[in-house]
């Protein structure tokens, strides 16, 4: 069962139609009530394969039950080589 975080829940009218988020600078439509964890899974990532940020703030793996809201900006980060 999906639960909404009061601080991030989408407006009722947006929820009825789904919400549009910005995923890595591209608009993406997701069903209303979609959590960050569900988005990560839908994109084909194992939970531990990426780190996540919403609206510029880190969201820990344990907090990905957060429901995505209309206009949220979601970024995913993955390991890369580095100096």
């Amino acid at each position: 069962m999906k639960s909404f975080d009061k601080s991030t829940s989408a407006p009722v009218e947006a929820s009825a139609k789904g919400v549009t988020i910005q995923l890595d600078d591209q608009p993406k439509h997701v069903p209303a009530g979609t959590t960050l964890a569900e988005l990560v899974a839908a994109l084909g990532h194992a939970p531990q394969a990426v780190s996540t940020a919403v609206n510029g703030a880190f969201v820990a793996r344990t907090a990905r039950d957060r429901v995505l809201a209309e206009g949220d900006t979601v970024l995913l980060f993955q390991p890369i080589v580095g100096g």
Binding site: D24, A53, F58, F77, P79, I80, G82, G83
Partner: protein
Amino acid sequence: MNKGAAADSWMVGDVTLASRFLLGTAGYPSPQVLADAIAASGAQIVTVGLKRQLAAAGDNSFVEIIRAAMATHGARLLPNTAGCTTAREAVQLAHMARELYDTPWIKLEVVGDEYTLQPDPVELVEAARQLARDGFTVFPYCTDDLVTCKRLLDAGCPLLMPWGAPIGSGQGLVNPFALRLLRERLPDVPLIIDAGIGAPSHAAQAMEMGYDAVLLNSAVSQASDPVRMAGAFRQAIEAGRTAYRAGVMAKQDFAVATTPVTGNPFLIN
């Protein structure tokens, strides 16, 4: 490893390290060359990064390759915050790195100038303060400015990583005076030269000056034979460290005869 080398370990927090070589993982011709270079380097700290996921699916298999290469000599990952220009960005990225790589170690980079990639001292200190408060072990990439370095220590950094020269420039130690001064003024702080190293002789020079370790990437990855170059740096760093411990002779302004002239059996008119 001989007894002398074992006794010459150094520490980051409560972690004891025998190798004084920190190696970056970017720009290698192939994952296998990277793995072989890590093995040849003997490095016990290997740097990695994070990037925004733009493809549909992720692939972090290279991390497993690195981990396997590191396992042979007990190395650890050191993720960085490359690309950040504000304290806020760096702090957020550091938290992501801690989760992704499962380590509280972070190489803190906050760049203030796009051309030189020079660190922004104001943002750097602020980010270091926040991260130290959040339980990170902060490895700050900084300039050789003494006062900024002191502020970073005040912020909770257990060590400092001043640049030798701009990242990737290969120029070596462009300001030996400032680096010597840092070493002299901060005798008990682990100091790691980070960035600008181009040749093994540069690394040896840093170690002869009493620096605790050297971090480099391009000098190995861009070599014609990265694996062989990793070995060359390993030897240079060890040689420089040994020379420092042995005590490099003081420079003289004039010639000082090496061969004793008294008791010379020959008289030359």
